[in-house]
C-alpha cells in the first residue's frame, strides 16, 4: 500500500497537474469510495484552485429511494420475517422509520458482511422467511447473483431478495443529458469497472465528446487519474482510459458478468434524486422470480421525502452539502435526515467528517 501513498511521487504528480492544467475544469468523481478517498487524502487541498471535483451519485445507499426503505420496514414488521442487510442500510431514514428504529422496536434485522451469509441464516431458520436487502452497484451484483444461484441449487425455499441494485453507466448518461452541470471529464469507478470493463462507458466520449479515466482509490491513483483527464482536456481529446491497470481491463470480468446475466435481466431503476432511469436496474429472470420479495402481500406506507433534504441535488452534483440548510445543523451522522449523511461513502457524511 505504501508505494501508492509515496510523498515524493505524489509531489511529482501534483507538479505535473499544475504544469499541464491551464484552464478551469470540472471533473466528476462518480464513485462514493472516490469521494471518501479524495477527502481522506486531502486531494482538493493540493490541486490548483481552478480544478474542481464534483461528487456524483455513486453511493448505492444514497440512491436507494424511500419506497425501498419503506418496503424493508414493512417487511421486518412481519412476524415470520428475518431481514438481512449490509450495515450501512440500518440508519437510512425512510418516510417515517428506519431499520435501526425497527430493530430497537424488536424487528429481527441482522447485519451481514456478505450476501452468502443470508443462505446460512435461511438454512438455520427454516420456519422463517429470510429476506436479503440487495443494495449495490455492479461490484456487488455478482455476489448477490451467486447467492441466488446457490440458494436455488440447494433447494432453499425460504430465502428472498428485496432487489434495489443499480447500474452506474445509465446514471452517468442521465447526468450528461440534463446539461445542468458543466462536467469536463469523469473519474470513473475502479471496482465497478473491474466487473463491467470500459465498453459501457464509451458513450461518454463517443456521444458527448468527454473523457473518462477508470481510477483506483489510493492517493497516487487519484492524482494520476486526474492528470490523465487534465491532459485529455488540454489536448481536446476524449477517450475512455484506464489508470487502474493493476485491477481493471477493457473486457471486465467475464465470469462475474455471466453470473449477473444468469440471474438478472435489465430493467428500469428508481434512483433517489435522479428519478426513474431506463435499464439502470434489474429484474429477476423466470427461474428466480420465486425469490422476489415484491411478490409478498405487504402493506407499505405511501413514500415521502423531507422537503428540506437536498440529497437529490447533491447526488447529481448540482449542489454541495454546504448549500443545504439542514447540513450540520439538524442533519449529521447521529441524526441523518437523508441517506447521503448515513453512508460512510455518502457525500454529506464525507463532507461532515473531513471538511
Amino acid at each position: 500500500m505504501d508505494e501508492f501513498r509515496n510523498k515524493e511521487i505524489a509531489g511529482s504528480l501534483i507538479q505535473k497537474i499544475k504544469k499541464t492544467s491551464t484552464r478551469p475544469v470540472q471533473l466528476m468523481e462518480v464513485c462514493g469510495t472516490h469521494t471518501v478517498s479524495i477527502f481522506r487524502y486531502g486531494i482538493r487541498s493540493v490541486l490548483p484552485q481552478h480544478i474542481r471535483l464534483i461528487s456524483g451519485p455513486g453511493c448505492p445507499v444514497c440512491v436507494t429511494p424511500n419506497r425501498d426503505i419503506d418496503f424493508a420496514v414493512a417487511l421486518c414488521r412481519q412476524e415470520d420475517v428475518v431481514l438481512t442487510t449490509f450495515g450501512d442500510m440500518m440508519k437510512v431514514p425512510g418516510s417515517t422509520s428506519s431499520l435501526q428504529k425497527e430493530k430497537a422496536e424488536g424487528g429481527d434485522i441482522r447485519i451481514l458482511y456478505a450476501s452468502l451469509d443470508a443462505l446460512k441464516i435461511a438454512r438455520e431458520n427454516p420456519q422463517k422467511r429470510v429476506v436479503f436487502f440487495a443494495v449495490g452497484f455492479e461490484t456487488t451484483s455478482p455476489t448477490i447473483a451467486v447467492a441466488m444461484i446457490k440458494a436455488r441449487e440447494e433447494g432453499i425455499k425460504n430465502l428472498f431478495f428485496l432487489n434495489s441494485q443499480k447500474q452506474v453507466p445509465p446514471a452517468i448518461r442521465v447526468l450528461l443529458q440534463s446539461k445542468q452541470l458543466g462536467i469536463d471529464g469523469f473519474i470513473l469507478p475502479g471496482h465497478v469497472s473491474a466487473v463491467i470493463g470500459t465498453k459501457p462507458y464509451q458513450f461518454i466520449s463517443g456521444e458527448f465528446g468527454l473523457p473518462g479515466v477508470v481510477t483506483g482509490f489510493e492517493p497516487l491513483d487519484i492524482l494520476q487519474g486526474i492528470w490523465m483527464l487534465v491532459q485529455q482536456v488540454e489536448e481536446r481529446r476524449s477517450s475512455i482510459d484506464i489508470q487502474y491497470r493493476r485491477v481493471v481491463n477493457e473486457e471486465g470480468n467475464p465470469l462475474a458478468l455471466s453470473k449477473i446475466q444468469e440471474v438478472f435481466e435489465k430493467d428500469s431503476g428508481q434512483w433517489r434524486g435522479l428519478g426513474e432511469i431506463p435499464e439502470s436496474g434489474y429484474r429477476f429472470r423466470e427461474l428466480y422470480k420465486g425469490m422476489d420479495v415484491r411478490n409478498f402481500e405487504v402493506e407499505v406506507e405511501p413514500s415521502r421525502e423531507d422537503p428540506g433534504c437536498l440529497c437529490g441535488e447533491v447526488l447529481k452534483g448540482v449542489k454541495t452539502p454546504l448549500e443545504c440548510s439542514l447540513f450540520k445543523v439538524i442533519c449529521h451522522p447521529e441524526n441523518p435526515v437523508g441517506p447521503c449523511m448515513v453512508s460512510i461513502e455518502g457525500t454529506c457524511h464525507t463532507y461532515f467528517r473531513f471538511n
Binding site: 500500500m1 445543523v329 473531513f354
Partner: protein, 386 residues
C-alpha cells in the same frame, strides 16, 4: 405546533429547518422527553447540536460525539461542580493533605476473552490507566460484578485469576467489592464495574485544559491493536499476522514520564473513539488547535491490513495500553527517550504539535503532504469493545 426555541445563533432559516426536521417522523417536538424542562434548546458553538433522541442508541456508548452530547445534556446539568467539570480521565479532589484521584469505569466487552487479554485484565488496566493519566499513583480498586445465572464457575475463576495477576502487575489492591446475580439473558454473561483511587504525585498538574500552542504531542505506541483483536475474536475473522490486544497498566510508564518532565501538560489514554477523538477532546478543552503528522503515527502492518479490508480508520480505534502526552517543546526529546526506554513505550513517537491556528480543530497532514480535518468519532464503529 412545536413549541418555542431560543438559539444562541439565531437565523430564521435555521428555525424553519429545525421545525421541518422536528416533524420529520411526524413527532411533535413538545412530546419529546429529552427536551429540557424549559423546552428550550440551545445550539452551542462546539458545532453540531444533537437532536433530542427518543431512545439510547449504541452510538451513545461509542466515546464519540453522541457520548459527549449525552454527558453534556443529561449528566452534567444536575451534577455540575468544579471537580466534575474538567471531565478528565479521573476526578482530582484536593484538600490540605494533597490531591486524590478518583475514577470509575464499567466493562461490557464482548467476547469476554480475546487475544492478549480478557474482561478481568481490562478492568484493572483501564482503571489504573485512568488514575495514571491525571498523575496519580493508583493504589486501591473496588470490584463489582454483575453475573448472569448459569455463568460457568471455571470461566469466572479464570477471569478472577487474570484480574489478580493484572492487579499484582500494577501494584494495586482490590479492597472492596460487590456481586449481583441476574437472570439468564439479563447481563450477557458478565459485566464488571470498578472504582479506583490514588494520591496524585506532588507537583503533578495534568489536565486536558492545559495544552498550549507550541507544545509537542507524543504517542506511546501502535494504534488499533485492542479493537481489532476484540473484533476479530467476536466476528470469527481469521487474519494472518499478530492481532493481540495491547491491554496493559501504564502507571509505571506515566510515573517515570512525570518524574522526568514535571511540566507535562496532560496525558490521556485513547480508548473508545481512538486517538482522533481524544485529541479533539483536548483541543476543545484547552481551546487550541493541533497539527498531527500522519506519517509519524505508528500502526502495525497487520492492523493496517485489517483496516484496509474492513474500511476502518486506525485513528478511531480503541486502545487499552497506549497514552498520549502533551509537553512543552523543549522537554519533548527527553520525554520521548523515557517513553522508548519503557516496555510499554518502545514504539513511541512525537506525532504533532499544538497550534494557535484553527482553535479547537485537529488538522492531519496526510501521507502525501496534504491537509484535512481530523474530527471526533461520529456514530459507532463497533460496540462493546471495552
Amino acid at each position: 405546533m412545536v413549541g418555542s426555541y431560543r438559539h444562541s445563533v439565531t437565523l430564521f432559516v435555521l428555525s424553519i429547518s429545525r421545525l421541518r426536521a422536528e416533524t420529520h417522523f411526524g413527532v411533535q417536538a413538545r412530546s419529546r422527553q429529552t427536551l429540557n424542562d424549559t423546552g428550550f434548546v440551545t445550539i452551542t458553538f462546539y458545532g453540531v447540536r444533537c437532536m433530542p433522541q427518543e431512545k439510547i442508541l449504541l452510538a451513545h456508548g461509542s466515546g464519540g460525539r453522541l457520548t459527549h452530547d449525552l454527558i453534556r445534556e443529561i449528566f452534567l446539568p444536575p451534577f455540575t461542580n468544579p471537580i466534575l467539570e474538567p471531565l478528565d480521565d479521573s476526578a482530582k479532589i484536593t484538600n490540605r493533605h494533597g490531591s486524590i484521584a478518583f475514577t470509575t469505569d464499567s466493562y461490557v466487552v464482548k467476547p469476554l476473552f480475546f487475544p492478549g487479554g480478557d474482561i478481568g485484565r481490562l478492568a484493572v488496566c483501564g482503571t489504573v490507566n485512568d488514575l495514571s493519566m491525571i498523575g496519580a499513583i493508583p493504589s486501591y480498586l473496588s470490584l463489582a460484578l454483575i453475573v448472569e445465572e448459569g455463568f460457568s464457575f471455571d470461566l469466572l475463576k479464570q477471569i478472577i485469576s487474570s484480574l489478580h495477576k493484572a492487579a499484582e502487575e500494577a501494584s494495586v489492591m482490590i479492597v472492596t467489592g460487590d456481586t449481583k446475580v441476574v437472570e439468564h439473558g439479563a447481563a450477557d454473561q458478565l459485566f464488571i464495574n470498578t472504582a479506583g483511587i490514588g494520591w496524585v504525585k506532588p507537583g503533578a498538574n495534568l489536565s486536558g485544559m492545559n495544552a498550549k500552542p507550541g507544545d509537542k504531542i507524543l504517542l506511546s505506541g501502535t494504534l488499533g491493536d485492542h479493537e481489532i483483536a476484540v473484533l476479530s475474536q467476536r466476528e470469527g475473522f481469521k487474519f494472518h499476522g499478530e492481532l493481540k490486544s495491547d491491554c496493559a497498566p501504564l502507571n509505571d510508564l506515566a510515573s517515570k514520564m512525570i518524574d522526568a518532565c514535571p511540566t507535562i501538560r496532560c496525558m490521556r489514554d485513547p480508548t473508545r473513539g481512538g486517538l482522533a477523538t481524544t485529541l479533539n477532546e483536548i483541543a476543545a478543552m484547552s481551546g487550541v488547535g493541533m497539527l498531527i503528522e500522519e506519517e509519524h503515527i505508528p500502526v502495525r502492518e497487520s492492523i493496517r491490513g485489517v483496516c484496509e479490508l474492513l474500511g476502518l480508520d486506525p485513528l478511531y480505534l480503541a486502545n487499552e495500553g497506549k497514552l498520549i502526552a502533551i509537553c512543552p517543546p523543549n522537554e519533548a526529546g527527553q520525554l520521548l527517550n523515557v517513553m522508548k526506554n519503557h516496555l510499554f513505550g518502545i514504539d513511541g513517537k512525537i506525532i504533532g504539535s499544538v497550534t494557535e491556528e484553527h482553535p479547537k480543530k485537529v488538522i492531519l497532514r496526510t501521507l502525501i503532504g496534504s491537509h484535512r480535518i481530523l474530527d471526533m468519532l461520529s456514530g459507532v464503529q463497533f460496540p462493546r469493545i471495552c
